[in-house]
């Protein structure tokens, strides 16, 4: 372990630190407001949550300074050790943690309770960066990609076992890092396509455009064919011959579909589309083998897979999911209005934010949050306090701070000399981005209720501390890179 020789205070990125401190201050104000009681109010009561949060902020600033002083090589040397330690703690947590509202993720250490899952994020990022930075690492070799997957999946599975679904999902943010490092965009696109097909088939599967055809089916067929053609264009711009062939096949089946619509046959109008997609997939696989172009195979599999996925979603949704899980999804997709059950929280949080208007009700004047209509209002739903009391102007400023922070971190990551720094930097960006999107999306009713905190704003020592460590390790690495920039 070595300490830096050059003045870290000269090299560290002050823009990020200012943004970090600004978000911390806003967050403390929100926690103070969320905990404020109309009846009794004393500002610096350390027993209250805003008092505890103040202590945590102090700890975080000290931690941040310590991290900046540590030589950045330290992180690289000890990354596997840190990762292994966290994995062991995660395993221990499954057995040692007490059940808190169905989750077994909190460890009690004397006066503290910490959530190890929060710390697994920076540990995984360090391990991933170190591994991918290693000599002759190639993402496309099977061995390397399996190992990369394992580094990400191991903590994810352990956290799932702690029944912390939200925290586990955060690890899918590493896919974004892999994309930046060269993973095929098609994998990300497949994920996006899967989510879209899922929503289309659940939400529009029941909306019929004829006796036998649902709007969901037709839209999925069209989407799949469009995806196939566009991908062919993007990945193989020189192979125009096959594209023309597929376009002819698609045109033929389009005509067939319209003819079918004119006959009294009781067949789904999407049926010719299925056959069409099947034939296209066969042709693509044939040429993939013939010309040794594995992009063709991927596109063919994606098209066939989309349709298979659609059928399995329907099966899964109606035959495998528990009723309460189904309701959660239906409420989210706006198929059900369930204001007392699953939809209550989101509805109250939308009321809180919506009632804030443009300028908000003023600091400490939010009735929705003060009177406890919004659940978890100082942790997962902290954004409501901003929305209700500071209005659209307030949320724009907070989101603006986050956006500038993310763009700044991308710029920092891109200027790293070694891929270790870049990969770690992108991990920080991806994790923060995932947290912000999912948390705000949930609070404003765009995404399902997945309980993860809003970085640096939500109440909670573990999360605040873990985000500080995550961020300042990167700033520490960056400070050393800077002179040669």
């Amino acid at each position: 372990m070595g300490f830096r020789q050059t003045s870290v205070w000269h090299n560290v990125d002050w823009i990020t630190i200012v943004l970090y401190l600004a978000i911390l201050i806003v967050g403390w104000g929100c926690v103070y407001s969320a905990g404020y009681n109309f009846d009794n109010a004393s500002i610096f009561d350390l027993d209250q949550r805003f008092g505890k949060q103040l202590i945590w902020i102090g700890i975080c600033i000290i931690t941040a300074m310590a991290l900046l002083l540590i030589d950045s090589d330290f992180y690289q040397y000890f990354s596997y050790f840190i990762y292994a330690t966290i994995i062991l703690i995660l395993i221990a947590t499954i057995f040692l943690a007490e059940d808190v509202k169905g989750s077994r993720s909190w460890l009690t250490l004397g006066p503290l309770t910490v959530q190890p899952a929060e710390f697994a994020k920076f540990a995984t990022a360090l391990a991933l960066a170190t591994f991918m930075n290693s000599y002759n690492f190639k993402l496309f070799s099977l061995k390397n990609s399996l190992a990369t997957g394992a580094i990400i999946l191991l903590p994810m599975v352990l956290i799932l076992l702690q029944k912390e679904t939200g925290s586990a999902l955060v690890f899918s943010a590493f896919l974004l890092v892999l994309y930046r490092e060269g993973m095929s965009g098609m994998i990300l696109y497949s994920g996006l396509l899967a989510v879209t097909i899922f929503i289309l088939s659940i939400k529009f599967g029941g909306i019929m455009i004829s006796d036998t055809t649902s709007f969901g089916e037709v839209s999925i067929v069209v989407l799949t064919l469009l995806s196939g053609i566009v991908m062919l264009w993007m990945y193989q711009p020189t192979k125009g011959k096959i594209r023309v062939l597929l376009l002819k096949i698609i045109s033929f089946f389009t005509v067939v579909t319209f003819v079918l619509a004119l006959t009294p046959l009781k067949i789904s109008y999407a049926f010719p589309g299925y056959i069409c997609i099947f034939i296209c997939a066969i042709i693509l696989l044939y040429y993939a083998l013939l010309d040794k172009i594995h992009d063709f195979a991927l596109i063919g599999l994606l098209m066939a897979g989309s349709i298979a996925f659609m059928f399995s979603v329907n099966y899964l949704f109606y035959n495998v999911l528990q009723p309460h899980q189904r309701i959660r999804i239906e409420v989210l997709l706006g198929l059900k209005e369930d204001l007392n059950g699953a939809g209550y929280n989101v509805n109250q949080s939308k009321i809180a934010i919506g009632s804030g208007g443009i300028t908000g009700k003023g600091f400490l004047n939010g009735t929705q949050t003060k009177l406890k209509y919004v659940p978890e209002q100082d942790t997962d739903f902290i954004f409501c306090t901003v929305g209700e009391e500071k209005g659209f102007i307030g949320v724009s400023i907070v989101l603006g701070l986050y956006l500038v922070l993310l763009l700044r971190l991308i710029a920092l990551a891109e200027r790293q000399r070694y891929s270790f720094g870049r990969i770690y930097g992108y991990s920080v960006v991806s994790i923060l981005f995932f947290h912000i999107t999912v948390n705000v999306g949930m609070v404003i009713g765009l995404l399902p209720v997945i309980g993860i905190p809003l970085p640096l704003l939500s109440y909670g020592g573990s999360s605040l501390w873990a985000f500080t460590i995550l961020l300042f390790i990167f700033l520490s690495i960056d400070a050393q890179t800077k002179p040669s920039y």
């Binding site: 109309f38 009846d39 974004l176 994309y179 930046r180 490092e181 060269g182 965009g185 007392n340 109250q348 939308k350 009321i351 809180a352 934010i353 919506g354 009632s355 804030g356 208007g357 443009i358 009735t367 929705q368 009177l371 406890k372 209509y373 929305g387 209700e388 209005g391 659209f392 949320v395 724009s396 989101l399 986050y402 956006l403 993310l406 763009l407 991308i410 891109e414 992108y426 960006v429 981005f433 999107t437 705000v440 999306g441 404003i444 009713g445 765009l446």
Partner: protein
């Protein structure tokens, strides 16, 4: 993988981040700026507007005696979505209902057809008017019943149990009341009859409101901004009646087991001294939780106790109409006080009875001759120079009668007053055709029979205006509104179309009727009483009628008594009228008249058909 693709990915990454933030902001813009209903939802979540009910104005009689006052009562309120499982049996026992009644009531509340404003988030009235004892016990246990609240209210108490018809009652407002007046919400009370109804807006006061903060569990967290937005309740105004409660009680006693009414008016002010309608009922039957049941029973009673005969019954006035007629004869110059007519007694139409003949106006009134008004009205109608057609004569006569307060409502400050009937030419044209009738067709109006109908209060008002020699104030029951004003129609004198000089003869005739004529039973020691009997033919026994005032020189009381199927006026109505005037003027009935009093109180008059 081409080398520049990795650099491209940085741009893709940045674009994706910016795009996602734009989507988030767009949704926030939609929620916070475009939609404006969330503010309302937030307010209805957080603010509980607690109504503070004002105390209803009290009612006193003319001597300052308290007739109607308030007694505390409690309503049980529920908010359905706040209810958690609780001990139903314990709850039901506390307020003395059965579990089944409770279940039925809940079903009733949730039924949107019966309760259109139902919402599980708002206050619903479970039971009204729970007694103070029940409230005391319930209050202790209320913490065990989340979602249940108690709201204090007042209910009416009618201290003397008299005057049910004019005091009226209050009851829960119905759908139409709520639509017509946005002061009311479901579960409020308003006057349903009597003074309670006609003075509703004066008595009810103004509701106040207390804005409380309520948390997600329904717990109240104190007043919103220390109550600066609250509104205090303003108590209703007190009313002082012109009613003499002793006289009222006495009148109700005298009318026991008889059907009819007594109306007494102070001629000087138009204030109603008593308004008896018999049969009557105890006004305290129509308060509290039993109101509904008792109201149904009373409305089914064939004797119609809810019917306020004093204002709503329209009877032929019989001979009490003769003084009004005589005034028209004098005003029209058809007769002078010395004009005499020959009376044919029993032998002609209309039939009369034995008395000296020929007869002039004053003795004709005293003996209630039927032939005299027959001839006199024929002269009025026969004046072809003044009235070329019978229609002209008829309508002129009608105008005289209307000026005396007949044919239209007097504007009494009580609901339900009827107008009676004074026929005009169109009325007879319709029945007989334009040329199909002449004086002999309609002569029975001359003696207060035929088509003429008056209400008892119109007859009492006739007595009052005769004693005043040609003017009256519209009869009214409220003498004074505390910190308020009486309607101006009660302070504007109305004059009849008769010159005041013509009244002396009429008053002498009515004095004669009491002194030596048909209503000697109304004599009072050392007071000059004026009166007129009436006997109105109808199915069954005749109605017994009296109209009078006293003292003759300056009347302090004018009265009408109507006893249905009581036979001759002298039999029931005259002695009752005499006793009432004596009671009012002297305060008590002398020993030598006690036997009359006993006879009246204990007498029973059977009503035709019952």
């Amino acid at each position: 993988m081409r080398p520049n693709e990795l650099i491209n990915r940085r741009t893709v990454f940045q674009t994706a981040v910016v795009l996602v933030f734009i989507i988030l902001l767009a949704q926030l813009f939609y929620l916070q700026v475009l939609r404006n209903d969330y503010k309302k939802y937030a307010d209805s979540n957080a603010f509980l507007n607690r109504t503070i009910y004002p105390s209803r104005g009290m009612i006193y009689d003319r001597t300052g005696k308290l007739l109607v006052y308030n007694r505390p009562a409690y309503d049980i309120i529920i908010i359905m979505n706040e209810i958690e499982p609780f001990d139903t049996l314990d709850f039901c026992n506390t307020i003395h209902i059965t579990k089944q009644q409770f279940i039925n009531r809940i079903i009733e509340i949730k039924d949107r057809r019966k309760n259109p404003g139902y919402s599980s988030y708002t206050q619903q009235i479970l039971y009204t008017q729970v007694s103070a004892e029940e409230y005391g016990i319930l209050q202790e246990k209320l913490y065990k019943f989340p979602g249940f609240y108690v709201q204090s209210r007042t209910i009416r108490e009618y201290g003397d149990s008299i005057g049910a018809h004019f005091l009226g009652d209050i009851g829960e407002v119905n759908k139409r009341d709520i639509e017509n007046d946005n002061y009311y919400v479901s579960g409020d009370y308003s006057g349903r009859s009597g003074i309670e109804k006609s003075y509703e807006e004066v008595l009810r006061g103004e509701k106040g409101v207390e804005i409380m903060l309520r948390d997600a569990h329904g717990r109240l967290k104190g007043r919103y901004e220390n109550g600066i937005h609250d509104k205090e309740a303003r108590a209703g105004k007190n009313l002082h009646l012109s009613i003499d409660s002793e006289l009222q009680r006495y009148g109700e006693l005298l009318m026991k087991n008889k059907t009819g009414s007594i109306v007494a008016i102070d001629p000087e002010t138009g204030g109603i001294l008593c308004l008896v309608s018999s049969p009557t009922y105890n006004p305290n039957l129509l308060i509290g939780r039993l109101r509904g049941k008792n109201h149904v029973e009373l409305s089914k009673d064939p004797k119609k106790p809810l019917f306020n005969r004093a204002l709503m019954a329209q009877y032929p006035p019989g001979s009490t109409f003769k003084p009004a007629q005589s005034l028209v004869f004098l005003q029209e110059g058809a007769i002078t006080p010395s004009t005499s007519f020959y009376c044919w007694g029993k032998g002609g139409h209309p039939a009369c009875h034995a008395h000296a003949s020929p007869i002039s106006l004053i003795p004709a009134l005293a003996t209630s001759c039927n032939v005299f008004p027959y001839f006199a009205l024929r002269i009025v109608f026969g004046n072809k120079t003044k009235y070329p057609t019978i229609q002209d004569a008829m309508d002129s006569w009608r105008d005289y009668m209307v000026s005396m307060g007949f044919g239209y409502t007097l504007g009494v400050d009580l609901p339900g007053e009827k107008r009676g009937l004074i026929p005009n030419s169109r009325f007879y044209d319709k029945i007989y055709g334009t040329n199909g009738w002449k004086y002999n067709t309609i002569y029975s109006i001359s003696i207060g029979q035929g088509e003429v109908n008056l209400t008892p209060i119109q007859i009492a008002n006739l007595a009052a205006q005769i004693s005043n020699r040609g003017w009256y104030y519209p009869p009214h029951i409220v003498k004074e509104v505390e910190q308020g004003q009486l309607d101006s129609i009660y302070t504007h004198k109305r004059h009849t179309l008769i010159d005041s000089k013509y009244y002396d003869a009429i008053i002498q005739g009515m004095h004669g009727a009491v002194n030596e004529g048909t209503c000697r039973g109304a004599q009072i020691d050392s007071i000059n009483v004026c009166g007129k009997t009436g006997t109105a033919q109808n199915r069954g026994e005749d109605h017994s009628i009296f109209m009078g005032f006293a003292p003759m020189e300056k009347a302090r009381i004018a009265i009408s008594v109507y006893v249905e199927n009581g036979g001759f006026g002298a039999r029931w109505a005259v002695p009752i009228g005499g006793l009432m005037m004596e009671k009012y003027l002297k305060g008590k009935i002398p020993e030598n008249r006690k036997w009359v009093e006993d006879k009246m109180i204990n007498g029973t008059v059977k009503v035709y058909g019952l």
